[in-house]
Amino acid sequence: MSSSNSRAARKARREWTSRSIGSGWQHQSFYLMIRFGGRRAAYLLLYPVVFYYVLLPSVRQKCRYYLERRFPGGGAWARFKNSYRMTLELGKVLVDRALVGILGPQQVKVSLHGQQDLLALLAEKKGLILVNAHVGCWQVAMSALGFMETPVNLLMQREEGDIDRHYFEHAGIECPYRIIDPRGFLGGALEMIEVLKRGEVLSVMGDRMLGKDRNGVDVSFLGGQVRMPFSAYKLASATGAPIVALFSYKTGPDSYELKLYRTIRVPHDLGRGHDVFVPYVREFSATLETFCSEHPFQFFNFFDMWQNSVAESDPEPDSLT
């Protein structure tokens, strides 16, 4: 990786933030629409708002990184249309998430594909690692995992200043999951081992680097190389826990599906090297490609994932993701 590429990657990271688009009052407007008019009213407001945002070149650029790889060769109109669809799908997901919190879980029906497989994996008593991605609406879809009767732990880092609220915050209830903060002691490594040893479920995002880039490996994704974290696979190797790639997607105005796409088995004691985990991260990236082919507008990474491989000396916080 050349130094100019590394510089570009660092620049891309600085420009990108997971903080939500829109100001506080704009979010409040949507919450108000949901309270007084339900989903339909919020969606009605959403269409022009999304149209306005997609007119902004900066928003279209954020969509373009992914769309150019998923739909190569499209013209300007096709790119605009696809940017609109992608942003609209994200908007709907955010509305649905707020809807569940404000009006209750009955607002969204979630069906699960792979329930028996999940139960069989849990019965192995080695814990279970759910590797998710920024697709569909994982927060809502996770509500379909109650049948497991096992505590679910989420590795989650909240961006400072993020005004977007999770559904349990809307509902004013305690978070149904135990949150492990990757900025904690040793990136939350000990806590993650602990929950897996107890046979619990650990949910992590597998598509986005949050900490040091050396905690990731390069794998192919949609025709280019992206860096994805391998911590989940290392944890699986250390604890014997099976991994499942579990993705959610919206199937109708009030319905989602949560599907077990693939079970990934990582051999025990693979050791310290990075490269030994590449085949398993590759399994995940291939599964994510399958998802993108099936649900092209429900992939929500709005930054240049392909600008990877930051130099080793990059002074970022130590984290397992």
């Binding site: 002691f185 490594a189 000990l190 290392k234 984290s319």
Partner: protein, 83 residues
């Protein structure tokens, strides 16, 4: 061989610490960050190493946090569990 000596040896071997000799690792050397230079991913490996070579399990944060500071604290943790 003392627990500390064995610990230094297995850390070098299992973590592939290149160009490091056991006697270069001081007892009060920090395991993570400055010192031995391990990172969060190595913590996962370290838990496995302690169990594999000493038969001692680091079960949770409560016991892991004070133990995973220096060679001395980790060796003492192992010795206490073996006692």
């Amino acid at each position: 061989m003392s627990v500390k000596e064995k610990l230094k040896r297995v850390l070098i071997e299992d973590l592939n610490l290149e160009d490091v000799e056991p006697d270069e690792i001081t007892d009060d050397m920090a395991l993570f960050g400055e010192g031995l230079g391990l990172d969060s991913l190595d913590a996962v490996e370290l838990v496995v190493i302690v169990q594999k070579h000493f038969g001692v399990e680091i079960k949770d944060m409560e016991e892991g946090r004070p133990a995973l500071q220096t060679i001395s604290t980790l060796a003492k943790f192992i010795e206490d569990r073996l006692a």
